[in-house]
């Protein structure tokens, strides 16, 4: 659960090769989805909205206090809770 106790926990960087979690991208930055981790049926729910490995996405904004991250995928904007967003690994464009 996303409670006060863990909301200051540092975001773990995805290992090496310039990959970033979605939460660390800049607004306006684009990149390719490398991996979608997470339990329950989160990868499936994200895939249904078009967020799956290989897909091009652009970050639009993120709310402060670890609020949702909004990205653009195809012609749609999707808002993703922070905890979910940090589990999406992106290979940013140069």
């Amino acid at each position: 659960m996303f409670s006060i106790r863990n909301w200051r926990k540092p975001v773990k960087l995805a290992p090496g090769n310039g990959h970033l979690p979605l939460t660390r991208m800049r607004n306006g930055q684009s990149g390719k989805v490398i991996q979608v981790a997470g339990g329950l049926n989160i990868p499936e729910r994200l895939a249904a909205l078009g967020i799956r490995p290989g897909q091009q996405v652009t970050r639009i904004g993120g709310m402060f206090l670890r609020g949702p991250i909004t990205i653009k995928v195809e012609k749609t904007q999707v808002a993703i809770g922070f905890g979910m967003a940090r589990k999406i690994t992106i290979e940013p464009e140069a």
Partner: protein, 569 residues
Amino acid sequence: MRILLMGNPNVGKSVLFSRLTGVHVITANYPGTTVGFSQGHMKVGAEKAEVIDVPGTYTLEPTNEAERIASEMVQTGDVIINVVDATNLERNLYLTLQLLEKQKPMVIALNMWDDTGHLGIEVNVDKLRALSGVPVIPCVAVTGWGTKELVEAIPRAAPGQVLPQTRDERWAAVGNIVQQVQQIRHRHHTWRERLSDASVRPLTGMLIAAVVLSLSFTIVRLIGEGLIAYALNPLFDLWGGVVMKLSGLLGGSGFFHDVIVGKLINGQINFTQSLGLLTTGLYVEFDMVLPYIFAFYLVLGILEDTGYLPRLAVLMDTLLHRLGLHGYAIIPTMLGLGCNVPAILSTRVLESKRERFIAATLISIAVPCAALQAMIFGMVGKQGPQYVVLVFGTLFAVWVGLGFIINRFTRGFSPELLTEIPPYRMPPWRIMGQKLGMRIWHFIKEALPVVLGAVLVLNLLYTIGVFDAIARFLSPIVTGWLGLPKEAVTAIVVGFIRKDVAMGLLTPLALTAHQLVVASLVLAMFFPCIATFVILARELGFKDMARATAIMVVSALLVGGLMNLVLPG
């Protein structure tokens, strides 16, 4: 023959449904507007077919209650009309393939066809037809363009030829189809897209929210008060004359006279104090409440149809997490400011039972419906705006505080926000007008019999002295703890049926401003009106409904009592 309208959320199924069947349903520009299914009929050739508007779903593997309904419905249909957002082919086609795998006769409606042009998207319809093996009809549901062709295509519906496949195979197939049928031209950002981006960024988002919400509030009040002052008050002045004549005919007093006209105050009827069917009964609903209902739903309609509400969900997400909810719960909450009944139904868009419990409980305690708000504005507002602010401020604090507490003490966890943010659109004015009309008609149809019934029963109970007995029994609580006169018991009891009439009953008691504040809070929180109660029981189940009710009673008494202690005099 049974036709199912199926597709992703917010692709326009309900608008198309209204087009095909002539049955008006509530439509809006956010995913999850439809949470149950509506039924209508249409002619297909000479045959009468049943049409079902199925809640939107991204896949047939459901993740919430609304999607579960959708995936269960598939089996029951004879023909599927798969409504597809032509501007979002890739995402939409995943469900299309799942539906084709069911091998039922199907037609694809490529909705929002008009948007493809200025978004720089080109879709090759013939190729899509060849690849899917079923008829594909471009259409624009909001204007009706292409719906005739769609109806004509239904008899040609062909069963899907796709064999069941795995998720990865399906996505690969989708990619393959999209590559063959869709071409995208690059094009610059429009102002709508810029506004859209600004709405989900912290600083600009907060600013936009502040402007939108304060503007909404101002417009609701301006229209509501304007209608009361310039249209309804003059109308009721005329009506007063008519009822006075009737009063004379009925002899000016007696049981029958008192039920119909009410008690004369200083030889005149008094719309707020006479308590007759034709005086207070009509006055409360039509003069005090209806103008605000109209104004509220007009503004809500605009917020819904432009697509602002999901942006508000993004903005409120962090706060709502503290209450065990996620941002999307703001949509049921906003609907609750109109009426708690559809609000509690719309909690079906939330994923877990826990979230639905928290959201529904908070709505029924701390979100006053438009009818009650109108009465609070009308009555408490007379004492000064600071008291109105006090009532709403307290309710907001209760909403946050109680949510925090329930979140702490309810087991389980709440999932995170994940939602599509639809593009901003111009509201389709005609459809929006119909929606407003439906909601007002619904209010009148539901409220009028209950209000008139309540006034009637009230008069009867007064006459046989039932209220005196209840008042004596409850006086330690009502008088001792809440500091209200014992006659206020009547209002609290009527509050079980309808809150607006209950507030109306407080008028003759000449309460002080502080007593009015306490009474408004207790009425708002204490118990949902009977219609909300029934929906709560149905949606949450008996056990959770009982828990919710216990929370309501305790928190209402606590907040009411504390306010009584804190406020002087």
